[in-house]
């Protein structure tokens, strides 16, 4: 059963002078528990697609259905709630908040979820950081961590709210090969052990080959 369905999705960026077609007639089904890679040259629309799947951006045309819910009818507040409960994000440049320590960064999604007590939040943070081997770094700030550690913190943040879908935008792009490999192993574990659906944008062919399916894009169109 498809957990993510895109039908006839176009995305057009318009300015006064120019109109850019970032995505054209994208039709896509991603199954629950699938690990999918999206590949293509720079500027082909991969990140735009990920933003649309992650409900961070809206398509110009077409429909996006996530977990059976058509997202086009959701208002901003509902979209925020939906993201909070169902989608986790991992970014290429980590996007940790530099003024917050590791524990507070990881706890961020729970801060926006009703009914989570401080005790529950602390327990969940400790559990997730222990799983990712970072429990000893809880009180450190992002500036005191290596790139690989930062990305592990970002992954911890992505999964603390227990979302079914994790979207990773070039998660190893800023890491050396050893750290990149480490991060890929974590993502595979999240997929295999937890059954989370993972959609990953990558330029790395070998990493993509380790996933269930590769979707290729060129000039805003799905070519494979």
């Amino acid at each position: 059963m498809a957990i993510i369905t895109l039908k006839g999705v176009d995305k057009i960026y318009r300015t006064k002078e120019i109109e850019t077609l970032a995505l054209e007639n994208v039709n896509l089904d991603i199954e629950k528990g699938e690990f999918v890679s999206i590949m293509g040259p720079s500027g082909c629309g991969k990140s735009t697609l990920l933003n649309i799947i992650g409900l961070l951006d809206v398509p110009t045309n077409g429909t996006v259905t996530i977990m059976g819910d058509k997202t086009g009818n959701m208002n901003d507040s509902r979209l925020s709630e939906f993201r909070n409960r169902n989608i986790g994000f991992v970014f290429q440049s980590f996007h940790l908040i530099p003024s917050l320590n590791v524990a507070d960064n990881v706890a961020l999604p729970l801060a926006y979820r009703h009914g989570v007590s401080g005790k529950e939040r602390d327990e969940k943070v400790a559990e997730v950081l222990t799983r990712l081997g970072l429990s000893h770094r809880m009180r450190h700030f992002p500036g005191q961590l290596s790139g690989g550690q930062c990305q592990r913190v970002a992954i911890a943040r992505a999964i603390i709210g227990d979302p079914q879908i994790v979207l990773a935008d070039e998660p190893t792009g800023n890491l050396d090969s050893t750290m990149g490999q480490e991060v890929m192993e974590i993502l595979h574990a999240l997929n295999k052990e937890d059954g989370r659906t993972i959609v990953m944008v990558t330029h790395n062919e070998s990493q993509a080959r380790m996933t269930d399916r590769i979707i290729r894009f060129f000039d805003g169109r799905q070519v494979e």
Binding site: S47, N51, G54, L56, D57, D76, S77, S80, E81, R83, N84, R85, F89, F91, S93, H95, I97, P98, S99, L100, N101, D104, L108, P109, A111, Y112, R113, R157, G161
Partner: protein, 427 residues
């Protein structure tokens, strides 16, 4: 807790902008609080005027005839009684001589000192809560005999070189009096109670020729919970009756909505010919406060926008992980409120010190009546008149308003940026 962490981080990493914001806020709060405190000194409740909110004062009026008109600061005490005696909601009244003037004071054969004096009846000591350091106030019988006086601590020291002088004899305007009590000196800004010498006043003993004009004024103490408006409404009816009497002689009375509240008395700018205009005075105050707050708010708003530009991607990340627009606005306003409060606290402290040291230079025009004008003109408020919970509450409210004015628009705009755009801006 995160607000404090974030602000601490901001202060460390954007020092220049943070300190300019705090400095701007401090300046705004300092300016507006200086004006507000100067204004509130007229109504602040401190001993011996702890009942200012319940006190009303009735003084002169204006009578217009066909060809001439007359007015006075003082009234015949019988007229005062007719207009203001036995009103519902009044706990007690006191008669005072309407014209504070200096008296010559000396110990027998000693140096004569010209000192400000007040003539008051026995109820005066019940309406105001003076602190007696020796002796006691005079009672009704003693007031009628007019043979006793109350001195201030400083006058007791000037006359006798000590303060415990109850029972000693002095001369006031060449008449002998016995000192019955000594009170703490009162700040000259508390004009209803500040004096060096308190002489008994017995208006019934005066032979006043005019049935309207005279030399008395009245202070009324309302019962707790009674509104000035309800008292004024009763007085209005009594003036209507007075007017109907005066109409027979083609005279018209103008009384300017007396008795005056402490706020109306403090507003000043009135006499027997014209009354205080509280509405206009308040409007002017609000315009001044508005300008003082609005100008720095515009500058602070651009500082906030500038600070937020560094945090666009953070806002995008928060949105991605489920923060609603309202949560982003709350977060930014909350953080900004802390900066505003720090600035506000600095501004408040500076304004208190400024008022304590410089009030006479910038705000005090002094009293144009009475002999104490020089002392009043040089008077400065006590710390107790400045450090009131009301002043701190007002400062907090102004900080809150300043925070909203300076941060709401930038926060609202920041919350409207699409998450995808906000995140991509960091690259």
């Amino acid at each position: 807790m995160n607000y404090f962490k974030q602000i601490y981080y901001e202060m460390k990493h954007q020092r220049m902008m943070t300190w300019v914001s705090i400095g701007g806020t401090a300046l705004a709060i300092f300016l507006v609080m200086a004006f507000i405190m100067a204004d509130r000194i007229n109504t602040v409740e401190v001993a011996p005027e702890s009942n200012r909110a319940r006190i009303l004062q009735a003084t002169g009026l204006h009578i217009i005839e066909e060809k001439n008109e007359g007015s006075t600061w003082g009234l015949n005490y019988k007229l005062l009684d007719r207009l203001y005696g036995n009103l519902d909601g009044i706990e007690m009244v006191c008669y005072q001589y309407a014209f504070d003037e200096p008296s010559d004071v000396n110990v027998k054969n000693g140096e004569i000192l010209s000192m400000p004096s007040k003539k008051v009846d026995a109820n005066y000591w019940n309406i105001y809560d003076f602190s007696f350091i020796d002796g006691r106030p005079f009672d009704e019988a003693e007031a009628a005999s007019s043979k006793v006086v109350v001195l201030s601590r400083s006058l007791a020291r000037a006359l006798f070189g000590e303060e415990k002088v109850a029972g000693r004899e002095i001369e006031v305007n060449a008449y002998s009096y016995r000192v019955i009590g000594v009170v703490e000196d009162v700040n000259p800004l508390l004009r209803s109670t500040n004096s060096k010498l308190y002489i008994p006043y017995n208006p019934a003993g005066k032979n006043e020729r005019d049935e309207y004009f005279g030399s008395s004024m009245m202070t009324l103490l309302m019962k707790p919970g009674v509104s000035a408006e309800s008292v004024k409404a009763q007085v209005e009816k009594r003036y209507e009756m007075l007017q109907s009497d005066l109409s027979k002689d083609n005279k018209r009375v103008v009384y300017h909505g007396q008795p005056y509240t402490t706020e109306e008395v403090g507003e000043g700018g009135y006499g027997s010919n014209n009354g205080p205009d509280i509405e206009q005075s308040r409007l002017l105050d609000y315009i001044v406060y508005g300008i003082i707050i609005l100008l720095p708010a515009i500058n602070l708003s651009s500082m906030t926008r500038s600070r937020l530009r560094h945090r666009v991607s953070e806002i995008g990340v928060r949105r991605a992980f489920g923060a609603k627009r309202s949560a982003i606005i709350r977060q930014i306003l909350g953080e900004n409120l802390i900066i505003t409060m720090v600035g506000g606290l600095i501004g408040m402290v500076v304004s208190i010190i400024f008022m304590y040291l410089m009030f006479d230079v910038f705000f005090n025009s002094g009293s144009i009546f009475g002999a104490s004008s020089l002392e009043e003109a040089q008077a400065r408020p006590d710390m107790g008149m400045l450090m009131t919970w009301q002043n701190f509450t007002v400062a907090f409210i102004i900080c809150f308003i300043l925070n909203l004015l300076s941060a709401f628009v930038p926060a609202w705009k920041a919350s409207k940026v699409e998450p995808a755009v906000a995140i991509s801006r960091a690259h």
